[in-house]
């Protein structure tokens, strides 16, 4: 099947070339960082994690989001998702590839990364995160490949593969739960120290993942002659709406706990993210516009999807606008606000603002491009197989 990636029209090659250019820039930026050190990033002593880890966190969610397609299809036998379930599995693969790359560029001694395996440390959540991520990656490669191969041969998938399919369901939940545990078990980090972190992560993941798949479907409908079907798209919006609403509800709960309890440590990060935090006469508020953009995009897209449901209108354009809006909203919320907000106030209660450097952004874009490169090739295979089967 792999040969399918080698045949494509000029648009396909153009798209890969654009991604390739970003990958090349990212690689050059990484070589610079590798030679000089992490000092080329905007991170510092008080702000030890930045864009890399926040992208990692967000993308673990995107990977877990595939569950929202796999689960209805395999557990509830929801046939409408038959054509796009494979997209969920392939999205998970490319998202985890990005996650692992973000971890690699974030560590100061990447050549020692194997120490994680050579000296396994069960008390560290990072160790478990590595385990579940590698496990989930393997499961999705097995499931995706075997099921697609069977489809191509027009036979039922072998029974044994369902063991892996069903195992992948709790694994999807576990990757994001363990990622949340990286944050929510740290004493002295008030913003992260909340039991709602894992459920909140999962809720936003179950909106962001399907939103990205829906977008991919719309793009492929336009350029690759692949139609997921209106019913499937409608069902995706329902899933996205519920998940985004639950995420918004959880965020509101954080506000209640912070401001009603009136405990300064619980309010600092929310102040910083949404209103600006005053410290020694200076107001720190560089993320405020982003967070409010996130709020408006989130509720805007919910309103749009709601309108589409109530008025029973469906157009690809409206769908695309809604999905882009919700994806950006959740990216701002988790891929930016969650990590930076938690770190803005240092353990010694100094406020530090984070500005990523150009080099850091170059690496980040390069990794996103790598992920989309892998995703494009995987989706190319999936769509080509569908076409081949339909051609018979």
């Amino acid at each position: 099947m792999i040969e399918k990636v080698l045949k494509g029209n000029s648009r396909y090659w153009m798209w890969l070339a654009i991604l390739g250019a970003f990958i090349a820039v990212g690689a050059i930026c990484y070589i610079r960082q590798f030679n000089y050190g992490m000092g080329l990033t905007g991170m510092g002593r008080d702000l030890g994690w930045g864009l890399y880890i926040s992208q990692f966190t967000f993308l673990v969610g995107v990977a877990a989001g595939g569950l929202m397609l796999v689960l209805p299809y395999y557990i509830h036998n929801y046939k409408v998702f038959g054509r796009i379930t494979i997209l969920g599995e392939f999205l998970a693969i490319s998202a985890i590839v990005m996650c692992l790359l973000f971890i690699m560029v974030d560590i100061g001694q990447p050549l020692r990364a194997l120490n994680m395996i050579l000296h396994p440390t069960p008390n560290s959540m990072l160790f478990w995160d590595m385990c579940v991520l590698l496990g989930y990656l393997t499961l999705n490669i097995i499931c995706g490949w075997v099921i697609l191969t069977s489809e191509r041969k027009q036979v039922k998938p072998p029974k044994w593969v369902y063991i892996f399919v069903y195992t992948s369901l709790p694994f999807a939940v576990s990757i994001h739960t363990v990622t949340a545990m990286l944050y929510c078990g740290l004493p002295g980090r008030h913003f992260w120290l909340t039991a709602i972190t894992a459920p909140r992560f999962l809720a936003s993941a179950f909106a962001a993942g399907p939103a990205l798949i829906a977008l991919a479907c719309l793009i492929m409908k336009r350029f690759a002659n692949f139609d997921a079907g209106k019913e499937a798209m409608n069902k995706l919006t329902t899933i996205i709406m519920y998940a985004a609403l639950i995420n918004a509800f959880f965020v509101c709960l954080e506000f209640f706990v912070g401001y009603y309890s009136n405990i300064p440590g619980h309010k600092h990060s929310l102040d910083y993210l949404f209103f600006g935090l005053e410290h020694h006469g200076h107001v720190y508020n560089n993320l405020v516009p982003f967070m409010w953009t996130s709020v408006f995009l989130c509720f805007g897209s919910l309103a749009l999807f709601g309108y589409m449901k109530i008025a029973k209108v469906y157009t690809d354009t409206l769908m695309a606008i809604g999905c882009i809006a919700i994806f950006i909203a959740l990216w701002l919320d988790k891929g930016l606000g969650f990590v930076m907000g938690g770190l803005a106030v240092s353990p010694l209660e100094e406020v530090v603002e984070y500005y990523p450097t150009a080099n850091e952004i170059g690496i980040t874009l390069g990794i996103w491009a790598t992920g989309f490169f892998v995703l494009t090739m995987l989706y190319k295979i999936a769509v080509s197989v569908e076409h081949e089967v339909e051609g018979h």
Partner: protein, 275 residues
């Protein structure tokens, strides 16, 4: 220093190094330019007998520190003296940027060192003076809990929270876990920023985390920690075994009301302050 105390320090240091140096000595001496040739042999020579002797103590040695802040009030130069002694002893680079700086022991206002203590109606002495901040060598260290490679660990025989700079992958999870901001990361090669090179202690490379080690390498030689020694004549910092009822530090803790940083987090710091 009286004989008993000197012997204790040797024991503590030797036990500290018995844990850390067994593999580390090889690594350190393998790069002659950066290694210290002397102390490894000392530790190995004394480590075995003394360590096994000390193990019989049921509660074990737990090293700790008391800062008598009363002696620092109005004398910030004393703090700088201790800080400089540490910088020199450990080849700590002097990087002039808050973003990339590396510090093992430093001074900061009361509100920063003790952010969870009330700042309302602060006394003049707490208002107008800096306080010393250093790794607390916690009994329940979150940094050790989160480290994915065991590059930071508790030395069971002394309670020191130590680092293996050769094991550290630089994920900075320990910096997230530490509620005291005690850890620094080498954002780039630190060696050009070392003012005065001390061959007795290894320098670090870029991409690893470092922090105060309670001068485990000096304890092995029977010396006190550099900061304690620097302020010896003032007696502003006391160092010793918290579990030994006859130790000077235990006596000071019995006789004075002391506070710890962020005790509510359950980390059980080994560093105490008389304010």
């Amino acid at each position: 220093m009286d004989k008993k105390r000197r012997k204790f320090l040797k024991v503590a240091g030797a036990t500290a190094l018995a844990g850390i140096s067994a593999p580390a000595v090889v690594k350190l001496t393998s790069t002659p330019a950066l290694a210290s040739s002397g102390h490894g042999a000392v530790a190995e020579g004394q480590g075995n007998s003394d360590a096994s002797h000390k193990q019989e103590t049921p509660s074990g040695v737990r090293l700790g520190m008391v800062f008598d802040m009363r002696k620092f009030y109005g004398h910030p130069e004393l703090m700088d003296k201790a800080i400089n002694a540490c910088n020199k002893a450990h080849n700590i680079p002097q990087i002039d940027s808050k973003k990339s700086e590396i510090k093992w022991i430093w001074r900061a206002p009361f509100n920063n060192v003790f952010p969870e203590h009330s700042a309302y109606h602060a006394s003049e002495s707490t208002e107008n003076n800096d306080f010393m901040a250093v790794c607390n060598h916690c009994d329940e260290p979150p940094c050790v809990r989160v480290c994915p490679t065991k590059a930071t660990f508790v030395l069971e025989k002394s309670g020191i929270v130590a680092m293996d700079y050769h094991r550290c992958i630089g994920c900075r999870f320990c910096m997230m876990g530490c509620p005291y901001g005690a850890r620094s990361f080498n954002w780039f090669d630190p060696r050009p920023y070392i003012k005065e090179y001390n061959p007795e202690f290894p320098t670090r490379m870029r991409g690893v985390v470092e922090k105060c080690n309670f001068c485990g390498e000096r304890l092995a030689k029977g010396l006190e920690p550099a900061c304690v020694e620097a302020l010896k004549e003032v007696g502003a910092i006391t160092f010793g075994d918290l579990n030994d009822p006859d130790s000077e530090i235990a006596k000071i803790l019995r006789e004075n009301h002391t506070i710890q940083r962020k005790p509510a987090l359950g980390t059980k710091p080994s560093v105490f302050y008389i304010v």
